[in-house]
Chain length 224, copies 6
């Protein structure tokens, strides 16, 4: 089942992808019905990055980063590398040399359910990574995996070409076919939030804005 | 046992609370006999905050943030929200809208043995949070919990109105009735530490300052 | 087996140590055949530090920091304290007073498979620490351990006088006797990487630079 | 705050305690409003034990089991030892000698948020233990703790004399004052479950027995 | 995206399913190219069970077991319930009453990436469960999920009707369409293993049976 | 540094090894000054085994069990295989075929800081294993490791030929050169424990047997 590189994957519209980046993970996740989040152990190596891009997926054996080289050739401007090891691993599959190469091919960042290293260099290069671990442990190049096949990464099912959104809150995947619709919902949601934010900042309570008092009383909430 | 909101809780003196904030978690914890620390998995979303305030406690079902809205109405200037889920959970109960509302009611921060989201916004708003996870996972509003009841949060027993101190070292609770006495001990401790710091900086050894050599020899320590 | 302080340990050449610091953890680890890394749970309390030094080792009982005081007397300019508890522990063995004392004795940092506290102060003092936890929990001074004996710290066997390298990628140990040879290999590696970095930045692929296409085809990689 | 042994604690009625044992953890926990469970990391050393007893609590320093000896003198027939370390620890505080002594004083078992050893012997002796770890690591006797003071054990607040129920599902605490009332609710619950069990075994659905179909439809559940 | 119950799912042939059960998890997993394993935290509540069946999937909110009742109506003889919470949770969604009901509908077992309770009763009933936790924590029935939709359970993507194999080694999923082919490969593998087992039991070495010595020498293995 | 097989290792006396097995892990660990324990995550696949043997060590890449085949050739009657992966891994390196082979060469068991599979078969064969995980995940045979080199396994430094003792309490290593002396101390300890056990069983208190009351009073213990 491994040893396959899918070369021509479909991607969402660039404007949709960039719109999703601006909304951020929490809003996009809500907009698509609270689905698509990767597990909370996926943390950014530095604070402040917020990106979106098309997933170029890598299924890699534990401790073997050969397929990362293969995947980099498949990158197009605006893509994000997504690596899922075939069994749990925290080795450092990726460092500053691979980042240099990925950046040269237009890559916006890396999402890896394993380890990353050279994080000081990556930070200086502004190449954002969301990973399970920071670990200098090296890898070999001895066994095949696959590129651009469906993967489960940190608990989320990801197809190549799906839209990945990542920021300080973590990582979310939006199926490519739904991207435009999700963006629309996310933007609607943002607009609604702006109005609510103003009212809340003025001291109004969510209890009143969302009209919760009646339902709470019905459910039996008692003030003592 | 849930479905209760206690409205009139007692709080410690503002000057005592602010004094404890200045001492910080490590000193306060020592001053009250090495008790009251929350578990080390409670980490700040950004470095550098150091706060103290009165606990407004929330006992919430997993994945349900309804009671946060109820609790915000109970906040007074200088309070800190303390949320303990009724079973282990890392969902993102709290984000920038709730923070906007909490700030409008005078809240100084959030301590939550679960997840938080919108951490980039919260950082920009300088609203500090100590949490078990950063996770964009949304919550529902379907089941009652309680506000201002005793909780166990991250391994520490907390009563509403107890003083919470939080900084880069973690979170500590001081029972309200002990707050003034603990502050006094903490300040005494700080004064003593200043003197010791000067001597240590000059190269004197703790072995001599604390007169340990004799006891170490008695215990059998051998230099080879 | 405890209760021993070894006073005269051998150290590597200062120039070798400083050379290893400049190479950083990931490069040094590769240069010595992918050995010597401490576990990935050893994280720095602040980003950006990169140090190397000679290990002054501490074997300490859980929750007892007495031996830290004993170890500080053994420090020489350029040393790094390495503390391994005799059973798993995350108590805060070390804070700003001990750091003041360690700095006064020439210490460059602390590597501790347990907890540390006063991290805001330590950050301001630019005293770097790599630890398993940040935890304000205090310790006692009641039971002997040993100083400058062999330890296993975070999964790595460390002898007193071995060279410790630590940066944002974690911590690596180089046996003292190998330090010069490892440095040479690390520098060779760095030089080679510089050349590769330039080619990769220009868009050349690792597949071509490392001549991987043939072997991948032989192994059965299929492009579809 | 440590160094205290409370000698005369109150206990619940023996018949109430034994009744709670027969109900088991899951039923008792439900009967008291889903409160009082210890964390799920508290696992039995062997399957099949189901006990209840009065808590004799121990607050002990990490890696120091001195207070266990002190606590054993306080045991009365039907008691359960409950040990909470003052910071996270998995050392083996307790083995077959202490079990021999505890049994001689009428102790029914041990609940410990740390480690236990000699588990083969304990199993042969039918002395049940619920613990966080099985670990042969020995402890010292150097620092005081307390006996029969309030503790937080594995996330649950426990007072001396509270009723502890433990079985293959884990451990639950019932405040002493509530024990009789909780038993009554638990027994009512059990009776109701027996009737339901018969209907479910006959193939009736919970959807019908609990009359859920209407509410599910109202909430929008769609069958496709 | 939730609130859906798919009623007519397709299942694999009963004889294929039963054949896969006889092969066991490790063999089936190898036979399908080392894919389909659920994470190793999925442990059986008792040793010795080995089952296979068709997945009836449940996507459930954290701490809410309402959908389990809905799913039980969808069970056919030989099915296995597979529950994936929408965010990490270890609550006890399932106990002896639900097991009674599931058994009455022909269910062979439960695979749940959360908690289970009443494990003593379930063991007596010989109803096997593979779970992330044993935890008596109760759940509510307040929020919709879905039944027979695709889920990611413990890191594996599972479609309703896929074949689940579970034994003491853990849990594996085989896509329904591949089940017959995988069975054939698994049986071929088993036959081959029998022959090898005889030779290995006689003292022959894998080095010789698999003809490894040449390749090891080529790779540089040195005997000293 | 890898790719080495050391063929002639020294072993301790068979009678010493067997004596240590009879003492068990907890006693041996105490007898050698509370050192040598492997981490508590090393759990037996079935209860009741108690073995000792000489360590044949394996340093293996993550997810690659090639060196196990190499190591089996090095086994002598009474040996125990000890596998340490070069980075954290829970793959199933070992199953019933390898066990068949190992048993044919006189092997008494396996200690592995990674995964094991076919545990039902291994249990039926009475081949005991202490592991970090039970996981059916297969491995490859692509990269060299080493056999009979020093390793750190689950936090303990182990030399080839050291004595491994393993039972339900976990795993302990005794350096070969110390084995006879440790056995003597362990047997002395056992004899002393037998006498104490009788007194404790008769209801005497450890407080009196160990003469602790005076020291406790001096330390300030208060009975209230």
């Amino acid at each position: 089942m491994s040893g396959i590189v899918v070369q021509n994957i479909q991607r969402a519209e660039a404007s949709v992808i960039d719109g999703l980046a601006r909304c951020g993970v929490a809003t996009v996740h809500e907009a698509q019905g609270r689905t698509g989040l990767l597990a909370s152990h996926m943390r950014p190596i530095y604070a402040g990055a917020r990106i979106a891009g098309s997933a170029v997926t890598i299924s890699a054996p534990p401790g073997d980063n050969w397929m990362v080289h293969v995947a980099i050739e498949q990158l197009k401007e605006g893509d994000i590398l997504v690596l899922a090891p075939t069994s749990p691993c925290e080795d450092g599959y990726f460092g500053d040399l691979l980042a240099t190469s990925a950046i040269a091919r237009g890559c916006r960042g890396l999402v890896i359910d394993a380890g990353v290293r050279d994080v000081r260099d990556l930070t200086e290069m502004s190449f954002p990574v969301w990973s399970k671990a920071v670990f200098a442990q090296g890898t070999v190049k001895a066994t095949l995996g696959s590129v651009n096949v469906p993967v489960v990464c940190a608990g989320a099912a990801i197809q190549p070409g799906d839209v990945i959104i990542a920021d300080d809150d973590g990582v979310c995947v939006v199926p490519r076919a739904n991207a435009a619709a999700v963006l629309e919902k996310a933007q609607t949601r943002e607009a609604a939030e702006t109005a609510k934010r103003t009212r809340l900042a003025a001291g109004e309570l969510g209890l009143d804005i969302y009209d919760m008092r009646g339902k709470l009383a019905t459910m039996g909430l008692k003030y003592v």
